[in-house]
């Protein structure tokens, strides 16, 4: 269960304050995979940032009884000057995983991401596909109740996509996903319900097709 209680979030821009959400209230039931859809600028990323506590709301709060992952996306979370291995170590350390536990995670990510010798090269030298494999593999090494996934499943070659879907499906037996994507086929395949964001409002659709229809009706690409 994730409950947004009267959430207000605004940003200061050069042309004054831009309000993304005002008094947004929404309850997402537990044990459901959620697709977050909306046009560019509708606030999907902002909501992800708030859910993952990267950013704090101006007022209101987010209540949950589960453990939420960091936002697993292409950028962020990985330091370009450090090697893939050092980045994974960092994630282990901040989660309090040390010693044998850390070695286990490192082996898992190395196995999963198949970076070869690049695992010990700076992340800045990676291709976007390699970055995605590292980021996704790292998140899969940790147990969460909700995985916050931002577009990342759409990258990588067919081989990696198939593999990550398989591992992810395994994970999703115990955990849930909150997925941001413009790919409606992916939303159909993975999600049990969708939240459609439009002009500062969020609508929950328990019928995925209805939600996608609302998104397309609001001018989103089909």
């Amino acid at each position: 269960m994730i409950r947004l209680e009267k959430l207000t979030k605004s940003y200061l821009t050069t042309r004054g304050r831009k309000v993304v959400f005002r008094d947004l209230t929404l309850e997402i039931p537990g044990r459901a995979n959620v697709g977050l859809i909306g046009r560019n600028g509708a606030g999907k990323s902002t909501l992800m940032r708030l859910l993952s506590a990267v950013d704090l709301p101006d007022t209101g709060k987010i209540v949950t009884d589960g453990r939420l992952s960091w936002p697993v996306g292409l950028m962020g979370g990985m330091q370009g000057t450090l090697t893939g291995r050092d980045n994974v170590k960092f994630v282990c350390r901040i989660h309090g995983v040390r010693g044998a536990g850390m070695r286990e995670k490192l082996d898992y990510v190395e196995e999963f991401a198949r970076l070869g010798r690049y695992f010990d090269e700076p992340v800045a030298t990676y291709s976007s596909g390699m970055r995605a494999r590292l980021a996704f593999g790292t998140s899969m090494a940790f147990d969460f109740d909700y995985y916050l996934i931002d577009e990342i499943l759409a990258v990588g070659d067919a081989d990696f996509k198939a593999k990550s879907r398989r591992v992810f499906a395994q994970r999703l037996k115990q955990a849930c996903v909150i997925l941001v994507s413009h790919n409606m086929n992916l939303i159909r395949k993975m999600c049990d319900l969708v939240v459609h964001l439009d002009r500062g409002a969020a609508t929950l659709y328990t019928d995925v097709e209805l939600g996608i229809a609302a998104y397309e009706g609001a001018g989103g690409e089909p």
């Binding site: 940003y11 200061l12 821009t13 050069t14 993952s52 506590a53 990267v54 704090l56 453990r67 939420l68 960091w70 936002p71 950028m75 962020g76 979370g77 990985m78 330091q79 000057t81 450090l82 050092d86 170590k89 960092f90 994630v91 350390r93 901040i94 989660h95 309090g96 995983v97 536990g101 940790f142 147990d143």
Partner: protein
């Protein structure tokens, strides 16, 4: 959570430790040159004035050798400058790492300051060791007092760094101005010359600068028979350190530091 519930303090300790290692790795891991530069920069700053002013000032400070005098003035100044600027830029530096909910901006500040304290300690050891090898008497007569002065230096730098970071969210140009201040500050902090070389009626004005107090306090603690002028003391930097840390933390609570510069 993954290894059983941790207390807030344990989480913060884990995070600061992880950031500390990350900071060291990205600063020294890439090449040995990075490590050498950290040591060579202060040495370069010391060698030039020693060569130029060393002979001139040999006799003007009774009982004090110029290289030792310079070292105990310059190293606290460098400590102050680095921690202040690093804290100021801490808001920009590790944006990506803040995407983990455990990592807070304050952890980044603390880790950076701690890293630099460790780096400074090795710089102190190397420079003083080098001077001792050449035959200077470098051991401070009141080491605890010296340690206190350096701790005060770190506190003031940290507090002012947070204030500058908050200013930087109003406009990034203000950060550049803050950076420029350090050039006149170097000359106004009595690093090259003893404070007694300035005209006497300047003293009340010069004494506004807290770094001058810290520099002279450091020398007072580290050099035998080095007298403080009565205008100087721990009061000014202590008051400013408390005020700036308090204000900096207040602005941090109000999320001034984490909001992006417009």
């Amino acid at each position: 959570m993954i290894t059983g519930a941790r207390t807030s303090f344990q989480i913060q300790r884990d995070v600061v430790y992880a950031l500390l290692l990350r900071e060291l790795a990205s600063r020294f891991g890439k090449s040995r040159v990075g490590f050498l530069w950290v040591l060579m920069e202060p040495v370069a700053h010391l060698v030039f004035p020693i060569a130029v002013f060393g002979f001139m000032l040999e006799r003007t400070i009774p009982g004090v050798e110029y290289p030792v005098f310079l070292t105990y003035g310059f190293l606290p100044f460098l400590l102050f400058k680095t921690i202040c600027l690093q804290t100021m830029d801490g808001t920009r530096a590790n944006r990506g790492l803040l995407s983990y909910r455990q990592v807070l901006l304050m952890d980044v500040f603390v880790a950076k300051a701690l890293t630099h304290c460790a780096v400074s300690a090795s710089v102190f050891a190397v420079v003083l060791g080098g001077l001792a090898l050449v035959g200077f008497d470098v051991l401070p007569p009141s080491p605890i007092e010296l340690f206190g002065v350096l701790a005060l230096t770190v506190a003031l730098a940290f507090g002012l760094g947070m204030l500058f970071a908050a200013l930087g969210t109003v406009s990034p140009e203000l950060k550049s101005i803050a950076r420029l201040i350090f050039i006149p500050l170097y000359f106004l902090s009595g690093i090259l010359f003893p404070i007694s070389r300035f005209p006497e009626d300047w003293l009340p004005w010069l004494a506004i600068n807290p770094v001058l107090h810290l520099v002279e306090l450091s020398r007072h603690a580290a050099l035998p028979d080095y007298e403080l002028v009565p205008e100087l003391g721990a009061g000014n930097p202590l008051a400013l350190a408390i005020a700036s840390v308090f204000m900096g933390l207040a602005l941090y609570r109000l999320r001034w530091l984490s909001r992006a510069a417009a």
